[in-house]
């Protein structure tokens, strides 16, 4: 099945800094999603982006399906951006497979 790898595993930023999180996947996908898990454990859908580019406020994402990677950009980071960011992908099986996550800490 699909394998999903995320980098970096951990990231510490000062408030106001920009960051890029990367997600590599091993096969062609029909679904790729980015999530933010808040400190209470809830998964928040950020983007559904099997290909192309999307933006939502300070966040944007780009997936280059032919090269099997996706990037999540966070601009002007805030302390509320802290948490774990997951990339998840599915292929023909329809099973959404998660990467190991990037733990982001934004310091004031």
């Amino acid at each position: 099945g699909i394998q999903v790898e995320q980098s970096p595993p951990d990231l510490i930023l000062q408030e106001g800094a920009n960051s890029t999180l990367r997600c590599n996947f091993s096969d062609s996908v029909n679904n790729l999603q980015w999530f933010h898990q808040n400190p209470w454990g809830q998964l928040i859908n950020l983007f559904y982006i099997p290909s192309g580019t999307k933006q939502n406020g300070r966040l944007s994402a780009t997936t280059v399906a032919t090269e099997r990677y996706s990037l999540l950009y966070i601009s002007s980071s805030q302390t509320t951006d802290s948490g774990v960011y997951f990339c998840a992908a599915s292929g023909n099986t329809g099973k959404l497979i998660f990467g190991q996550g990037t733990t982001l800490q934004v310091k004031p």
């Binding site: 029909n30 679904n31 999530f35 998964l43 559904y48 099997p50 099973k95 959404l96 990467g99 996550g101």
Partner: protein, 115 residues
């Protein structure tokens, strides 16, 4: 989007007992999924629950330990049987939206601690 309600939101259980987690969706969906997130780890798919058929379990998960029911298109239960401290995790229900492509939505999860 799909609105998913999970019950209970959290529980503390004794070793050897069982807990049934309920998942209710506000619309009819074909596929429902159950995930486990162990402390400090990512999410792992336990099984896929399709209405009218047996659940399909992933490698490392068995029906005797995690029996699943799917009586209709809006509801499913996951039971964690004969619990041990290693079962302490967050258990999440997920559905695939039939409208907007393949987007999957997740419930708020059930935080289980086994003593």
């Amino acid at each position: 989007s799909a609105v998913i309600s999970q019950k209970p939101s959290r529980d503390i259980c004794q070793r050897g007992t069982s807990l049934t987690i309920q998942c209710q969706v506000d619309s009819q969906v074909t596929m429902m999924f159950w995930y486990r997130q162990q402390p400090g780890q990512s999410l792992t798919l336990i099984a896929t629950a399709n209405q009218g058929s047996e659940a399909t379990y992933e490698s490392g998960f068995v029906i005797d330990k995690f029996p699943i029911s799917r009586p209709n298109l809006t509801f499913s239960t996951l039971t964690v049987s004969n619990m041990s401290p290693e079962d302490s995790s967050i258990y999440l229900c997920s559905v695939k939206s039939g409208g907007r492509g393949n987007i999957q939505y997740f419930g708020a999860g059930t935080r289980l601690s086994v003593l």
